[in-house]
C-alpha cells in the first residue's frame, strides 16, 4: 500500500470524474461517492504502514503517522458521507462538473496535508484545499462568502509561508520534526514561529477574531458542502494546532518565560482566544435566525474547545481535544446533512419559516437529535466524553477563566441546539409544507451512519482513546489511562458504557410506568390550550421567531468584528480609489506627468548615487 500511489490515483480520479461529469453529471456525482469510499478504505489499510515514508515528484514527502491516520480517517468519513448528497444537488448547481472536481481535489488536499513530512508539503496541500474550496463556496448562495473565506484563509497561508521561509533560512531543512526540535533552545525565535505557525490553525478553525468567515461560508456554501466545511476542513486547524504544541516543543521552549497557572503566557493567550471563541460563538448561535448559520457559530464554539484541549497538551486535555475533534466532525456533519434534507424539501433554512418537520421526516429528526445532543455534550453521546475530559483537565489545573467559558459554552449550547430542534422539527407544520414527501433512502444512509458513530463513540469510547493514546505517546505525552471502557482521570473516572446502561435502565422503568396506565387519546396539534383565543392560522401558532428574545436583548448592542472588518475593507477600498484616481486616470496628460516624474526621479537617482 503506497501513499504516493493513492495521491496520484485520487488526482487522476478527480479529473476522470470531471470529464465524466461533463457528459453526465449524475454519473459523475456517483463517482465522487465511489472514489471517497475507495480512499476511506485505502486510508484504513494504511494503519499497517505506520512509520513509513513516501516521496512524490521529488519535492513532496509523506510520512504515515498515527496522527495523520486519525485525522485522515475522520476526514475521509465526512467526505464519504456527504458525497451521498451530491447526486441530489447536481440539478441545482451552475457548474456541476466543476463542483465534483473541486470536491475530490479538496479531499486530496486534506489527506496530503495530514500525512505531510515537511513544511513545504504542508503548504502545497494546504493551498490546494484552500483554492479548491474557495471555488465551491460561491456555488451556494453568495459570492461574497467565497471571497471572505479566501481572504481569511490567506492570512493563515501567509503565516505558514513565513514559517516555511524563516525556518529554511535558519535550519536549511524543512522536515517538520528536525525544524521544530531545533527551536527548543531559542525561545525568542520559537515565539515568533509559534505565533505565525499557529495563526494558520486559528484562521482555519475559526477562532476569534477570525471566526467571521464560518457563518458566511458555512451558511452560504452549497448544502452538500457545508457538512464537509464544518465537519472536515475546519479540522485542518486542529491538525496545525496539534503540530504547534505536540511536535513543536512549545512548553519546553517557553519554560523560562512568564507563566499563568503553570501555562506559558503565549499559550495562555491562545487559550483565552479559544475561550472568547466559545463565548462569542455561543452568543451568536443563540440569536441566529438561520439554521445553517446557527450550526456554523456552534462550530466556532466547538473550535474553541478543541483549541483549549489541544493547547493544554497533557494527558487529559489533549485527549479531550483530539476526541472532541472527531465527535464534532461527525455530529456537525450529521446535523448539517439533516438541515440539508430539510432545505432540499422546503428550499429554506430560515428557522422561522419551518416547523413540525418531525411529522414529515422522523428519521431525519432522530439523526438531528442525536447529533445535537452530542454537540451540546450531553450523555450518552460522544461529545459528552470529550467535553468531560477537557473540563477535568481545566479543573485539575485550576484555570478558572477558561473553565468559565467552557461552562458557558456547555450550558449555552443547550439553548442554541434546542432552537432548531423546537422550531424546525417540532411545533406546527406550516400550510405550504403539508404535502412534503419523505427523503429518499440514499439521503438517510449517510445520516444514520454518522449518527450511529456519534452514539457508538459516546458509549464505547475506548477504541478512539487508544489511538489518541498512541498519538500522545508518539509526541512524549503520557497516554490517557483506560481501564476497560472506563477513563481514569486524576479527579475521578468516567465509564461511558455504565452511564449508558444506567440511563437505559431508567428509561425502561419510565416506559413501564407509562405503559402501566391508560392509553392516551391522539389529538390534533391545533387542539391545544389557547387562553380562550381562536386561532386558525398554523404559522401564527408556531413560536419560532426571536426564540430567546429576553436574553438576546441583554447583548443586543454588542461590538462586532464583522463591522470592524467592513470598515477596514471600506478604508482599503478608499485608498485604492485614491491610487486609481491619481495614477491610473483616463486623462492621458496625468499619465504623461507621472511618467515624466518617474524618469526624473530615476535620472536624479542615478546622478546622486
Amino acid at each position: 500500500m503506497d501513499l504516493s500511489l493513492m495521491a496520484i490515483l485520487l488526482l487522476i480520479g478527480s479529473f476522470i470524474t470531471y470529464f465524466v461529469s461533463r457528459s453526465n453529471k449524475k454519473v459523475g456525482s456517483y463517482l465522487t461517492i465511489l472514489i471517497t469510499l475507495f480512499a476511506l478504505m485505502y486510508v484504513y489499510i494504511l494503519k499497517n504502514n505506520i512509520g513509513l515514508t513516501y516521496e512524490l515528484f521529488g519535492v513532496i514527502t509523506f510520512k504515515v503517522t498515527y496522527l495523520g491516520w486519525y485525522f485522515s480517517i475522520i476526514m475521509a468519513t465526512v467526505y464519504f458521507s456527504a458525497a451521498f448528497f451530491n447526486p441530489f444537488w447536481m440539478e441545482k448547481f451552475l457548474y456541476p462538473s466543476q463542483y465534483n472536481l473541486m470536491y475530490l481535489l479538496s479531499f486530496l488536499g486534506t489527506i496530503g496535508l495530514f500525512f505531510s513530512n515537511d513544511l513545504l508539503t504542508i503548504f502545497i496541500f494546504w493551498e490546494i484545499t484552500v483554492w479548491t474550496s474557495t471555488f465551491i463556496i460561491p456555488l451556494g448562495k453568495s459570492r461574497k462568502a467565497g471571497v471572505m473565506y479566501f481572504v481569511i484563509s490567506s492570512i493563515g497561508s501567509m503565516g505558514l509561508l513565513f514559517t516555511l521561509m524563516l525556518m529554511y533560512n535558519k535550519v536549511g531543512t524543512l522536515e517538520i520534526s528536525k525544524v521544530f526540535n531545533m527551536l527548543a533552545n531559542e525561545p525568542k525565535l520559537a515565539s515568533i514561529v509559534f505565533v505565525m505557525f499557529i495563526l494558520s490553525g486559528l484562521t482555519k478553525m475559526g477562532i476569534f477574531p477570525f471566526h467571521i468567515w464560518l457563518p458566511q461560508a458555512h451558511g452560504n456554501a452549497p448544502n452538500t458542502f457545508s457538512p464537509v466545511l464544518s465537519g472536515g476542513l475546519v479540522k485542518m486547524g486542529g491538525f496545525i494546532t496539534f503540530l504547534s504544541v505536540g511536535v513543536f516543543p512549545a512548553y519546553e521552549a517557553f519554560k523560562d518565560g512568564l507563566h499563568i497557572a503553570g501555562i506559558p503566557i503565549l499559550i495562555y493567550i491562545m487559550m483565552l482566544l479559544g475561550a472568547v471563541s466559545i463565548i462569542v460563538g455561543t452568543l451568536m448561535a443563540i440569536k441566529s435566525e438561520d439554521a445553517k448559520k446557527l450550526l456554523a457559530y456552534s462550530s466556532v464554539a466547538n473550535g474553541g474547545y478543541i483549541l483549549i484541549g489541544i493547547l493544554l497538551a497533557d494527558q487529559l486535555g489533549l485527549a479531550g481535544g483530539m476526541m472532541h475533534m472527531l465527535n464534532h466532525a461527525f455530529a456537525s456533519a450529521a446535523s448539517f446533512l439533516a438541515i440539508a434534507v430539510v432545505a432540499y424539501k422546503t428550499n429554506t433554512t430560515k428557522i422561522s419559516e419551518l416547523g413540525g418537520m418531525i411529522h414529515k421526516m422522523p428519521v431525519t429528526y432522530t439523526v438531528f437529535l442525536i447529533s445535537i445532543i452530542s454537540l451540546a455534550g450531553i450523555p450518552p453521546m460522544g461529545g459528552f466524553v470529550s467535553k468531560w475530559l477537557i473540563i477535568q483537565a481545566l479543573a485539575d489545573k485550576g484555570l478558572l477563566l477558561i473553565a468559565f467559558a467552557a461552562f458557558f459554552g456547555s450550558i449555552g449550547s443547550f439553548l442554541y441546539v434546542f432552537r432548531p430542534l423546537s422550531a424546525v422539527f417540532l411545533g406546527q407544520v406550516a400550510e405550504r409544507n403539508e404535502n412534503l414527501t419523505p427523503p429518499s433512502n440514499m439521503m438517510r444512509v449517510p445520516m444514520i451512519f454518522l449518527a450511529g458513530l456519534v452514539l457508538y463513540f459516546g458509549v464505547l469510547p475506548r477504541g478512539v482513546l487508544e489511538i489518541i493514546g498512541k498519538i500522545q505517546a508518539s509526541v512524549g505525552i503520557t497516554p490517557v489511562e483506560l481501564n476497560g471502557q472506563a477513563i481514569m482521570a486524576v479527579n475521578g473516572n468516567l465509564d461511558a458504557l455504565k452511564v449508558f446502561v444506567i440511563f437505559g435502565f431508567g428509561f425502561v422503568l419510565a416506559l413501564l410506568l407509562f405503559l402501566a396506565f391508560k392509553k392516551p387519546r391522539k389529538v390534533d396539534l391545533m387542539d391545544t390550550y389557547t387562553s380562550a383565543e381562536f386561532i386558525y392560522t398554523k404559522e401564527l401558532y408556531h413560536y419560532a421567531h426571536d426564540f430567546y428574545a429576553p436574553f438576546e436583548r441583554l447583548y443586543g448592542n454588542h461590538p462586532s468584528v464583522e463591522k470592524w472588518a467592513d470598515q477596514i475593507s471600506y478604508k482599503v477600498k478608499e485608498v485604492g480609489d485614491l491610487v486609481n484616481k491619481v495614477f491610473f486616470n483616463f486623462n492621458p496628460s496625468l499619465s504623461i506627468l507621472w511618467i515624466t516624474v518617474l524618469i526624473v526621479i530615476i535620472y536624479l537617482g542615478g546622478v546622486i548615487i
Partner: protein, 306 residues
C-alpha cells in the same frame, strides 16, 4: 454491575420519591401557614399524583410521549448515581459532571415533549427555562471547579467523606462560605423557586412547559419534579453540608435545606427572565470567581504569576 445494584437503584428511586413527596406535602402546609391558611393534609401530594396517573390523557404525537418517558428515565437514572449518606447503588458513578450533565438529558426530554405539543406557551416556557439554566448553573459550576481543584476529587461521596473528619467546622459551607452562599442561591434557581420561577409562571404564561399536560403524562412529570428536587438538594447536602455519616443525619440536613429554600421562596416576588440573568451574572458569578481565585491562589502558595 449486577442484579443487586439494579434492585438497590430501584429502592433508591422509590425511597427518594416517597420521602420528597411527603416533604413537599409538609412544605405545602408550611407555605399555607406563612400565608395564614390551614393548608392541605401532608399526603395531599400523593393523592394529586395518583389521581393524575389514573386519569385518561391526550397525546400530540410520538415525541410528546417519548419526551416524557425520556425525561423521567433520565432523571431516575441520574438519581441512581447520587450517594445518600455514603450509600451508592452504582459505586464509582457519582462524578459531579456526570450527574449534572445526565440531569440535562431529562430536562431536554421534557423540553422536547413540551415543544412537541405544538403549544406556543410551552415553547416560551422552555425558552425561559433554558435561559434560567444558563444563569444559575454557571456560578455553581465555577464554585465546583474551585473545590475540585482543592480536594483533587470530583466524586460526591468523596466530598461528603472529606467533611466528616471533624465537627461542623469541616463542612464546606463553613470553610468556604462565599462558595456555599453562591451554591444556595443557585439551588433556589435549580429548584425553580421564587424569585426564579419565571419559566413556570402560572398566572403569566399558563404554566409554561406544563401547559398541555394532563392525566398520566402530568402524573409522571410530577414524579419527575420530586426526583429532580431530590437530586439537586442532595447535591448541595453532599457537597456543602458534609453529606451524612448516617441516613438520619443526611435526611435532617436535607429537610432543613429544602424547607429553608421553600420559606425564602414564599416571601419573594418573581424576577423577569432577563433580570434573573443579570442578577446571577452580577452577584453570584462575581462571588464564585472570588471564591475560586482565593482557593487557587492559596493552594499554589500565594503565587499565580511566575
Amino acid at each position: 454491575m449486577n442484579l443487586i445494584n439494579f434492585l438497590q437503584a430501584i429502592g433508591i428511586v422509590l425511597f427518594a420519591f416517597i420521602f420528597q413527596t411527603s416533604l413537599t406535602g409538609i412544605n405545602r402546609k408550611i407555605t399555607a401557614r406563612i400565608q395564614r391558611r390551614r393548608g392541605p393534609v401532608w399526603y395531599q401530594q400523593f393523592l394529586d399524583i395518583f389521581k393524575a396517573l389514573t386519569k385518561t390523557s391526550i397525546t400530540h404525537g410520538w415525541i410528546y410521549d417519548f419526551g416524557v418517558i425520556m425525561a423521567l428515565g433520565g432523571i431516575a437514572a441520574t438519581l441512581m448515581m447520587v450517594p445518600i449518606a455514603g450509600f451508592e447503588s452504582f459505586p464509582g458513578m457519582d462524578n459531579i459532571f456526570i450527574i449534572t450533565y445526565l440531569l440535562a438529558v431529562g430536562m431536554l426530554g421534557m423540553a422536547m415533549s413540551a415543544s412537541g405539543s405544538g403549544n406556543p406557551w410551552a415553547a416560551i416556557g422552555v425558552s425561559r427555562a433554558l435561559t434560567s439554566m444558563l444563569a444559575y448553573d454557571i456560578p455553581f459550576m465555577l464554585v465546583m471547579i474551585g473545590l475540585i481543584f482543592k480536594f483533587d476529587t470530583a466524586s460526591l461521596s468523596n466530598f461528603a467523606a472529606l467533611q466528616q473528619t471533624g465537627s461542623i467546622v469541616t463542612w464546606n459551607i463553613i470553610k468556604y462560605p462565599i462558595g456555599g452562599f453562591v451554591a444556595l442561591i443557585s439551588l433556589q434557581g435549580m429548584l425553580g423557586k421564587k424569585p426564579f420561577d419565571n419559566f413556570i409562571a402560572p398566572a403569566e404564561i399558563a404554566s409554561g412547559p406544563m401547559v398541555e399536560y394532563g392525566g398520566k403524562h402530568l402524573g409522571m412529570l410530577f414524579i419527575l419534579h420530586e426526583l429532580s428536587t431530590f437530586i439537586e438538594v442532595g447535591l448541595i447536602v453532599n457537597i456543602f453540608f458534609g453529606g451524612g455519616p448516617t441516613v438520619i443525619a443526611f435526611l435532617v440536613k436535607y429537610v432543613i435545606v429544602y424547607t429553608l429554600t421553600n420559606m425564602v421562596s414564599q416571601v419573594l416576588a418573581r424576577f423577569k427572565v432577563d433580570q434573573m440573568v443579570m442578577f446571577y451574572y452580577k452577584v453570584p458569578l462575581a462571588l464564585a470567581f472570588i471564591q475560586g481565585f482565593i482557593i487557587v491562589i492559596t493552594n499554589s502558595g500565594g503565587v499565580l504569576w511566575f
